[in-house]
Amino acid sequence: MEGSIEWLLWLLTMVSVVTTVAIIAVLVSESVQFFTMEGHPEISPWSFLTGTVWSPLLGARPEFGVLPLVTGTVLVTAIAGLVAMPIGLLTAVYLSEYASAKTRTCLKTVLEILAGVPTVVYGFFALTFITPYLLQPLSESFGTYNAMGAGIAVGIMILPIVCSLSEDSLRAVPQSLRDGAYALGSTKFDVTAKVVVPAGLSGVIAAFLLALTRAIGETMIVALAAGGLAQLTANPSQQVQTMTAYMVQIFLGDAPANGIEYRSSYAVAMTLFAITFAMTGTGAIVLKRYREEYE
């Protein structure tokens, strides 16, 4: 009885291990099929990773250079980070250092609601509010679909992650450190900016990394609001296509199954998986190696 239960628990634990192995196996085998497809000798991992034109569905000869999709993703993620990191960190500082217990509970509820909102809702918000009412009045260059609107919406989506994880790590800084700094004649600003934030920095950076990873993998917002044109641009008023948005386009049935376009989505997925896996790994290392331990 005891032994069989332990064995059963072990078996269920292996589900998560098998999931990782299966994800990697599927992505690798399908990507290999993409790179070795007959009739397309021009496609190689090198041309895929360094090519600057992505036009799988248009033109006589499809081109598969993933860089426009990568820069599209990076542009949206950068905008999201610029929105979420300062606001999230300042809100976390306010929650942990300034707010009364009552205000704190109240604000935590607001953040929990924001965290629970499905991402497709943020996409809708970008399309029907951020772009027409905030961006288009500012400049006429913003189209219906643009990187800025999508980026801001992704930023709002990751704000609760930045905020609650940073706050956890700021609150974990022992009160004695603050008291010591006050005793030396510090103002609250000195205590916060020079003692508390540096002491909780590993947690804050891990929070940033986790939030940016979510932003890179975010799908529904960019599929709705960023547009569908893969282009190499840093102009946020233009439409861009991200890696995830391309996958949505393919799986929604724009391409015949088992064609070269269909297979290309697996190579894109592999790229996306590699990037996010590296980032979560880095986050875990940062948290482990640079954590300041206090009694």
């Binding site: 589900v15 300042l90 629970g116 499905p118 497709v120 918000f125 030396l184 000195d190 916060t192 709705l224």
Partner: protein, 312 residues
């Protein structure tokens, strides 16, 4: 450490006030964003929300369209997802916290779980398409293996194709890492003294887990479970990969039925250019948010009612 003794006190106090102002501004902005989100959706969607909307199927005309199929689809998929992810998540947490020895293997599994929680949900969709949708190509969908009769709710055939069962299992994979981490934290919060007392009375390891640790950790675990489920009910991307967006005119009646879910229906309507469809998308979002609010309130009630403080 320099605390700025060379800076005049007036400037330090000004920094202090600026910091407070910046923090307040950021916090106000966060609240303003939430208000703008909720208000803009209510303004657009409230007028379309009525009984007809909840009880009708999709339609070519926005005025006649309803969300019966996606609403029932969401409930089916989430039920299946919860029935798989919650037990597997809790079992994994128990194994890692109570049974596994502190070895390299254990920390590798742990690292793997935290990495999995960062994998984009659309990638899970790709795995699910290969595993559940096609059984890795081992069984052709033209010649499926069947179990049970199509009249039964529990009718199953391999591969699962784009059925509710495939959808539920896909979401279960997505939320499993979150569920495991939540359950582990709940178990860690149970004081060691309780386990030691039970062991001292002669309990076996499993008796300790089943009769002592698990009951004390359950309220926290349930909160975690509900929060993971609220993530699942809002997921669209992985389901889009396995099934695409369907306009359905039936509700699921067995495990192999086709399905669509609320977020996918919202995506479909929001992506159309006409304002009429944006209005019904907003109405569907209101229904979705009410469902989520229901989930979260249950979590809060459980947290407050059942959580007895445990002395360590």
């Amino acid at each position: 450490m320099t605390i700025g003794h060379t800076i005049p006190i007036a400037r330090r106090l000004r920094h202090d006030r600026l910091m407070l102002a910046a923090c307040l501004a950021a916090t106000t902005l966060a609240i303003a964003v939430l208000s703008a989100l909720l208000i803009s959706i209510f303004v657009q969607g409230f007028s379309s929300l009525d009984w007809h909307f909840l009880s009708s199927f999709a339609s070519r005309k926005a005025a006649n369209a309803g969300i019966l199929a996606p609403l029932m689809g969401s409930l089916w998929v989430c039920t299946i997802c919860g029935m798989v992810a919650i037990p597997v998540g809790i079992a994994t947490a128990i194994y890692l916290e109570e049974y596994a020895r502190r070895s390299r293997l254990r920390s590798l599994i742990q690292l793997n779980i935290s990495n999995l929680s960062g994998v984009p949900s659309i990638v899970y969709g790709i795995l699910a398409l290969a595993a559940f949708g096609r059984c890795f190509g081992a069984i052709s969908s033209d010649d499926p293996w069947t179990l049970g009769s199509p009249d039964s709710v529990f009718f199953v055939q391999f591969p699962f194709g784009r059925s509710v069962l495939a959808g539920g299992l896909t979401l279960a994979l997505v939320i499993l890492p979150i569920m495991i981490i939540a359950a582990q934290e709940a178990l860690r919060a149970v004081p060691v003294s309780l386990r030691q007392a039970a062991l001292a009375l002669g309990s076996t390891k499993w008796q300790v887990v089943w009769k002592v640790t698990l009951p004390s950790a359950l309220p926290t675990m349930m909160t975690g479970a509900i929060l993971s489920m609220s993530r699942a009910i809002g997921e669209a991307a992985p389901l889009l990969v396995i099934g695409g967006v369907l306009l359905l005119f039936s509700v699921p009646d067995n495990l192999m039925s086709d399905f669509t879910v609320l977020p996918l229906q919202i995506y479909n309507w929001a992506g159309r250019p006409q304002d009429d469809f944006h209005r019904i998308a907003a109405a569907a979002i209101i229904v979705q948010l009410v469902l989520l609010l229901g989930f979260n309130s249950v979590a809060i009630v459980i947290r407050q009612k059942l959580q007895r403080p445990l002395q360590s």
